[in-house]
């Protein structure tokens, strides 16, 4: 009874990359990813613009300061009799 043959059995052919857990990236999703990248790029650019605007608003030169004082002084003159 030793000279008989065993029962060979193969592993079930299960797929490692089933569609349930491997999400398919369609061209629409790919363009969506690219849109996200471009959006972040635009935010990066706008930061520079905002920084520039804040600098121009915050720092006033001497001539601009004098102009503001003149306008303020003109507003405080007494009225005509």
């Amino acid at each position: 009874m030793a000279l008989m043959y065993p029962f060979h059995v193969a592993q079930p052919p299960l797929n490692w990359s089933e569609h349930l857990w491997v999400s398919e990236v369609s061209p629409a999703k790919e363009s969506f990813i690219t849109t996200i990248c471009e959006h972040r790029q635009a935010q990066w650019d706008n930061q520079d613009l905002l920084r520039h605007l804040q600098d121009s608003v915050a720092i006033l030169t001497r001539e601009d300061q004098r102009h503001v004082n003149a306008v303020h002084a003109a507003a405080n003159m007494p009225a005509n009799p």
Binding site: M1, H8, V9, A10, P13, S17, H19, V25, E30, I36
Partner: protein, 798 residues
């Protein structure tokens, strides 16, 4: 009491999960030629629109624009680098056709960059994107109306996409990378030749990727293709270490390609590295934890571009449990599959529930690797009963949920997103479950029981016809079923039928344009069963050739799960061949590696070898201490002990063992079980010199022996019948002739010597047919065989 501090909410850091999403996303390395092309495009743009608030006096017309873009496309498509002198020649050619001081402005801007007066800026003005001239300009100049439609750049053109890629690549380069690029660019301009950058850029951030994986889409396609090849035909895939290198490259350069970790896990399974496979699976499910919101309306309402997905909770335990099951860690796998069943029931995922339950079934059937065998400690453990009852309760919950639903038909809830793929997967799972139940019946010896297994097989094969089979799902499962069929036929002694099925599998496994020759484990099993069917009829030369072919097709370092089948088969067939030639040292050598891979086969053959060399006590002890849980294994052990005791003349003990084997054979449904037991009963009676009773028992097997016996069984049967007839003083020559026909070709020299002994006794002067010449010929032939193959015939042990 101080006031309670408000807990800050932890936000998921996307940068820590994916790295920076813009980093290396384009795979377009920044080279001096590309920067020069960019500067040329800016120069041409200024020539068409003007600089700043000053409009251009001569915008391009259609012919000029066509000429410009032809040159630009040619520059972009070309992969190689150009020297600065050659690039200036191209710009000069453009200037000759267009005018507008293009060459002067280009060279001026390049020289400023070379000498550090300007910095590299990969940006355009906003007018580049609006691509239209102001209205007041058209009113003042009174231009023609057809110029309104002529835009400088279309957002759908390849040139625009190329510009976007180069801009993103340069913008997201680090400080050190920017410095290196600027330095290379300056050297390129000043030298005018390609001497400095003649070597390809193979490292760092600007490494040029291979063509197959130089962008995310190609990397995904490459991962899918290699993953399919690794599973179906591993020799056609790239080498495993090259795949791992490319996986590392994709992981560093394309963070959004998460399939690369799944491919890495499959490679580590092939390399027998279970810990790294589990790590890669964890990384895959971590990376795919967040999914992009595809519905733009939902994204705008919730302000979420990404949201967590439940895939990792449900399918993560299945894949990890599968890795543990393949490497023999069945308890851990069982716990993981139970976790997955719970998650699928909580989230009402029918497909995940079905897959997890099928994995539980596989885990309970496959106990000892490549061979179908029930281990001894599994069926009688007390804890196992509780665990099985828990599993049964869990399955009962599943059945109660779908009480009114036919389990063979998918519900609409399980076919959620991808209808066609879900339907194919469901049909695949139903067929797989039927075949697994068929395997379980084979293990319990109920394969040919009426109306149980045949229904499973027919339903399973019927489901396969519903598949479109775009991913070789049906063909692979059909190969699996046919391989199980060949194993079942070998078990039942139907060697010719097994040979035909195996040959059909080999012939139908042909090359096709979409799929190469499959090299799955099922095809290894079919090849191995072909070898067994050849060995069963005594064709050892052809069997050895087939073994060599199988070893070439399934190498150990590429396909180890298939190679272990070939290894076991080679050892078993070589043991059998050498045992019949009485070469016991060779038999011991072939048994060396069989103890771990096939313990039952090792115990049976080791005990046979010990008994044949005179060590009866060791053989009986070895057989007695081995506990076997499946039906055929225990029957074989009882019959082996019976024959060993018969050979040593201990007939009472042999009779007890043969009765135990008979009890098992009555309940089992193996077609050759009755034949094997009764044949050994005849040998037992013959050993006791009960010739008449032995003849009556053996004569009833004359029809079955031709259908279900191997050549060894047939030879032993006929020599037993011949001895019975001789002891009853009748003519035994018909059976001697048939026994001789079985062992033609020097398959069993010891049996041939036994035949010659019978002939000598028959033709002796006091025998049944006295003939001195035939007696002399038999003695001479015996002497020749004895010189080549010494030792007695061990037919009573078999």
């Amino acid at each position: 009491m101080p006031p309670k501090k408000a807990q800050t909410r932890r936000i998921v850091s996307l940068d820590s999960l994916f790295g920076h999403t813009l980093l290396n996303i384009t795979g377009e390395p920044v080279t001096p030629t590309k920067i020069a092309i960019f500067q040329l495009i800016r120069t041409l743009f200024h020539a068409h629109f003007g600089v700043g608030a000053v409009p251009s006096l001569k915008p391009f017309d259609k012919d000029e624009k066509t000429r410009v873009f032809t040159v630009l496309y040619g520059l972009i498509i070309m992969k190689s680098e150009i020297s600065y002198d050659d690039f200036r020649c191209i710009v000069r050619i453009l200037n000759d056709g267009l005018g507008r001081s293009i060459y002067y402005r280009f060279v001026t801007s390049m020289e400023k960059l070379a000498h550090g007066e300007d910095q590299i800026e990969m940006l355009f003005e906003d007018a580049f994107y609006t691509a239209k001239r102001p209205n007041h300009e058209k009113v003042l100049k009174r231009e023609d109306s057809w110029l309104d439609e002529l835009t400088f750049m279309n957002s759908n053109s390849f040139l625009y996409i190329w510009i976007k890629r180069v801009m993103m690549q340069y913008t997201r380069t680090s400080q050190n990378g920017t410095f290196e690029i600027a330095e290379k660019f300056q050297k390129w301009i000043i030298s005018g030749t390609l001497e400095i950058i003649s070597h390809p850029i193979l490292s760092g951030i600007n490494r040029a990727l291979p063509t197959e994986i130089d962008c995310s889409i190609r990397a995904r396609h490459w991962c899918a293709a290699q993953l399919r090849l690794v599973q179906l035909c591993p020799t056609k895939a790239m080498s495993y270490f090259q795949i791992l290198d490319w996986c590392d490259t994709i992981h560093r350069r394309h963070h959004d390609v998460v399939d690369v970790h799944l491919l890495r896990a499959a490679i580590f399974v092939q390399l027998k590295n279970s810990s790294d496979a589990v790590k890669s699976l964890k990384q895959f499910f971590d990376m795919s934890m967040l999914e992009i919101t595809e519905n733009s309306k939902h994204a705008l309402e919730t302000l979420k571009l990404m949201s967590p997905s439940q895939v990792a909770l449900r399918f993560g335990p299945i894949l990890q449990g599968r890795v543990h099951r393949i490497f023999g860690e069945r308890q851990i796998a069982s716990a993981l599959f139970a976790e997955s069943i719970q998650q699928s029931q909580v989230n009402v995922d029918d497909m995940c529930n079905r897959i997890a339950n099928m994995e539980v079934t596989i885990n309970s059937i496959y106990m000892s690797g490549p061979l179908l065998q029930r281990l001894s400690g599994e069926t009688f453990a007390a804890g196992k009963k509780e665990e099985e009852s828990v599993e049964n309760e869990r399955r009962v919950q599943q059945n109660s949920v779908h009480a009114a639903v036919d389990l063979n038909v998918p519900t609409l809830r399980s076919l959620q997103k991808n209808f066609r793929e879900d339907y194919e997967l469901h049909a695949f799972l139903v067929s797989m479950c039927k075949f697994l139940l068929c395997i379980q019946d084979m293990m319990d010896g109920k394969f040919f029981k009426h109306n149980s297994t045949a229904d499973y097989v027919s339903v399973g094969f019927h489901r396969l016809r519903l598949l479109l089979d775009m991913n070789n799902k049906g063909f692979v499962l059909q190969a699996f079923a046919n391989a199980i069929m060949t194993s079942g036929l070998i078990q039942s002694g139907m060697y010719h039928q097994a040979k035909r099925v195996a040959e059909t599998m080999i012939v139908s496994n042909c090359d096709a344009p979409n799929s190469p020759i499959l090299e799955t484990e099922s095809h290894a099993v079919a090849g191995v069963n072909l070898v067994y069917s050849l060995a069963a009829v005594g064709d050892y030369e052809k069997a050895q050739k087939t073994i060599d072919i199988l070893k070439n097709r399934f190498p150990e370092n590429i396909n180890w799960m298939a190679a272990r089948h070939v290894d076991i088969c080679s050892k078993i067939v070589n043991f059998e061949r050498n045992f019949l030639l009485n070469k016991y040292s060779e038999c011991s050598r072939h048994l060396a590696g069989l103890e771990t891979s096939a313990p039952l086969e090792f115990v049976l053959r080791k005990s046979l070898l010990l008994a044949a060399t005179g060590k009866l006590a060791e053989a009986v002890l070895l057989l007695g201490t081995y506990e076997c849980g499946d039906v055929r294994g225990s029957m074989r052990i009882h019959m082996q002990m019976a024959t060993i005791h018969t050979a040593y003349g201990q007939f009472e003990t042999a009779e007890i063992q043969i009765q135990e084997a008979g009890k098992v054979a009555v309940n089992a449904h193996f077609l050759d079980a009755n034949l094997l037991v009764v044949r050994r009963v005849g040998s037992l009676m013959l050993g006791r010199f009960m010739a008449r009773e032995a003849y009556q028992v053996l004569h009833a097997l004359s029809a079955k022996i031709e259908h279900f016996g191997s050549f060894i069984e047939k030879a032993i049967y006929h020599v037993s019948m011949a001895r019975c007839l001789r002891l009853m003083h009748k003519d035994p020559r018909v059976h001697l002739k048939q026994c001789k026909a079985q062992i033609i070709g020097n398959k069993w020299p010891a049996m041939e010597k036994l035949l010659l002994t019978e002939l000598t006794i028959l033709h002796h002067s006091g025998g049944l047919y006295p003939d001195e010449q035939k007696e002399m010929k038999a003695k001479e032939r015996f002497g020749k065989i004895e010189a080549d193959f010494p030792g007695p015939c061990t037919w009573m042990f078999i």
